[in-house]
């Protein structure tokens, strides 16, 4: 596709970098410019709260693609450049300290920013969030054996950090508003499984508690104050209380936004020349029939693939079954699909041991599955969910049966299928 068009991609995360990659795979031959406020090649974020905190892991090991790839693919990188505005009428983006850049099509992949708590003392030194490499490096500086770390929020990032920190000899307390761990994403069985694991490793869990303020000494945090009056002494605090999608550029440019940039199932915004992908979007889920917002690597990559096709004029729908993962200790939690609307939960295997799986069904159809250290069943579940497969719950429940025996009818579902 010979083209003299310029496609501009805003953001230096998974969504932008994968869009650039896919544009070339689609055969787009014009100019691609990726503008990121971060001074690095687009890099991997999951290690920031895992291995990164407890090793000397540096940025050279984190790029999603190496410099040679961008050169070879003629993808121009403008790194360390903040986009300050989108002028839709002139089809131009404004970049701080640079000349404006004209676009023929634009992709917004601005991700999200960590939520900060609007409570007294939140400006004290020693209170961290983790989204960027720099955030990780700053937090790592306080990682000394014996240091007291208070983590606010028992979601993926909070718990992964807890696992890393306790392994490095820190004294870790996790404070969580709801009554169980990962309550937004996982089943109670899984919450309990992980709670036991964290407790066994020496993490203190304070559930059903909220942070009301921070106490400081000489400008540095010294404690977290909880709603019930408890004072959790801390040398270091991580606020892991979720993300806020970054859609200010889109909103200021008048694109339709509802807590995120609203896109259709082809990742188009309300302006036909502007696409969006990743954490900054809200999109309709074809599989689940409603509008959702997902914050995951998988979703950013998949939306990028769809957006790139759309930018090249090809109609590809975002019909993918979403999946998630979390690494804590030697446990890999994997979730595929979305659970809401289920009418039955089946636990397969021993929920006290890694390897179990939890299946969410609606009228026997598999909606979602979560498992610990069982990547094979995870793969199979993903295929079944995509194919609307129905299962016999009695067989599924009995780990003495092969997984394949549980599917009702449709033997072709058992064959591995191309997933490109």
């Amino acid at each position: 596709m010979l083209s003299n068009e310029t496609f501009v991609l805003i953001g230096g995360g998974y969504a932008s970098s994968r869009t650039a990659d896919c544009l070339r795979q689609e055969g787009f031959d014009g100019r691609i410019v990726l503008v990121s406020e971060e001074p690095h090649l687009p890099y991997s974020r999951p290690p920031l709260c895992k291995k990164g905190l407890v090793s000397q892991l540096d940025i050279t090991r984190l790029p999603l693609r190496h410099a040679a790839f961008y050169e070879r693919s003629r993808i121009e990188l403008m790194l360390g450049k903040h986009v300050t505005g989108i002028d839709r009428a002139a089809r131009r983006v404004r970049i701080e300290g640079e000349a404006s850049l004209d676009y023929d099509k634009l992709l917004i992949g601005t991700g999200g920013r960590p939520r900060r708590l609007p409570i007294p003392g939140n400006e004290l030194a020693g209170i961290h969030v983790i989204r960027t490499y720099e955030d990780m490096v700053a937090m790592r500086a306080g990682f000394a054996p014996g240091a007291r770390l208070a983590i606010i929020g028992a979601g993926y990032i909070g718990l992964e950090t807890a696992a890393s920190a306790v392994g490095a000899g820190l004294d870790v307390t996790v404070i969580e508003l709801s009554a169980r761990l990962m309550s937004r994403v996982a089943a109670p069985v899984t919450s309990e499984f992980f709670a036991r694991y964290h407790l066994d490793h020496g993490v203190k869990l304070m559930l059903h508690r909220s942070a009301q303020g921070f106490e400081g000494v000489d400008g540095r945090v010294a404690a977290v104050l909880l709603d019930d009056g408890t004072r959790v002494a801390a040398d270091l605090v991580l606020v892991a209380a979720g993300n806020i999608p970054e859609f200010s550029l889109a909103a200021e440019a008048g694109l339709t936004c509802e807590g995120g940039i609203v896109v259709d199932d082809r990742c188009r915004t309300s302006d036909p020349l502007i696409f969006a992908a990743g954490d900054c979007t809200r999109h309709p889920s074809v599989r689940y029939g409603r509008r959702i917002q997902l914050e995951s690597v998988d979703n950013a990559l998949e939306q990028a693939r769809v957006a790139a096709a759309g930018m090249c004029g090809r109609k590809v729908r975002h019909a993918h079954v979403p999946w998630f993962w979390s690494d804590q200790y030697n446990l890999k939690l994997q979730i595929v699909g979305l659970a809401d609307g289920f009418d039955e939960i089946v636990v397969r295997g021993d929920p006290d041991k890694p390897g179990y799986s939890i299946w969410y069904l609606r009228e026997s159809e598999v909606l979602c599955m979560e498992t610990v250290n069982n990547p094979r069943e995870f793969m199979q579940a993903g295929r079944w969910i995509g194919a609307h497969a129905k299962v016999d719950a009695r067989i599924l429940r009995d780990a003495g049966h092969e997984l394949d025996e549980a599917v009702i009818g449709k033997n072709e579902l058992l064959e591995p299928v191309a997933r490109g």
């Binding site: 991997s44 984190l62 999946w323 990547p375 793969m379 191309a418």
Partner: protein, 204 residues
């Protein structure tokens, strides 16, 4: 880890004919665009003014070829990037992708050697496995056997190192900085190439 298998390449002998690549592609029946092995042609220098005869330009150019596959690295970034644990490192040092577990997300393309290759039809990543099927047969890897220059070898990296005293571990220009992944790649450098240091020890 006790053992570390890897490739040896004699860059003086390699003439870039790509028979290795073809033999590999044939064996694995890979589609167009999927190459477990690649041949990199590296050129450097330029035309320069001839000092002896002003106004005349003379070529000061040199070139060499490197045949590269998966380097079965000591600290593979692909393995770390894989979100589903489909990539593992065996006791013999091989880095392998399990196609039954791979979800095709392509995050392992963070490899600075471009080793993992996405197979569109299968929906999974594929990669050089050091012809693991030939293990114990005494047969040579497809690429090694095919090389008309006998420029390639595969084996225990320490043994290869003892055998090729002039070879350097980790590579030469234009390959990535070996400090990143500690590649198990031993190269007898072409006389014109810049050796990259940074690879510290073979086996950890």
């Amino acid at each position: 880890m006790t053992k570390q298998l890897g490739f040896y390449l004699d860059a003086e002998a390699c003439n870039g004919c790509a028979v290795c690549l073809v033999a590999c592609k044939d064996k694995y029946d890979n589609p167009v665009g999927v190459n477990f092995r690649k041949v990199i042609h590296h050129t450097m220098g330029s035309w320069e003014q001839d000092a002896a005869s002003p106004g005349f330009m003379v070529p000061q150019i040199s070139a060499y070829s490197l045949s590269i596959a998966c380097n079965h690295c000591v600290t593979p970034v692909c393995l770390e990037a894989c979100p589903v644990a489909a990539i593992s490192k065996r006791d013999d040092g091989r880095v392998l992708i399990d196609p039954e577990v791979c979800v095709g997300c392509r995050l392992c393309q963070c490899c600075p050697y471009d080793a993992p290759q996405f197979n569109e039809a299968l929906g999974v990543m594929t990669m050089c496995d050091g012809c693991v099927d030939l293990e114990g047969t005494g047969e040579e890897q497809a690429c090694v056997a095919a090389c008309p220059q006998r420029a390639l070898e595969f084996g225990d990296i320490e043994e290869l190192r003892a055998k090729h005293g002039d070879a350097v571990l980790g590579g030469v220009e234009p390959l990535a900085d070996p400090a990143i992944t500690q590649p198990s790649l031993l190269v007898t450098p072409h006389r014109h190439s810049t050796v990259l240091t940074g690879r510290t020890n073979a086996v950890e």
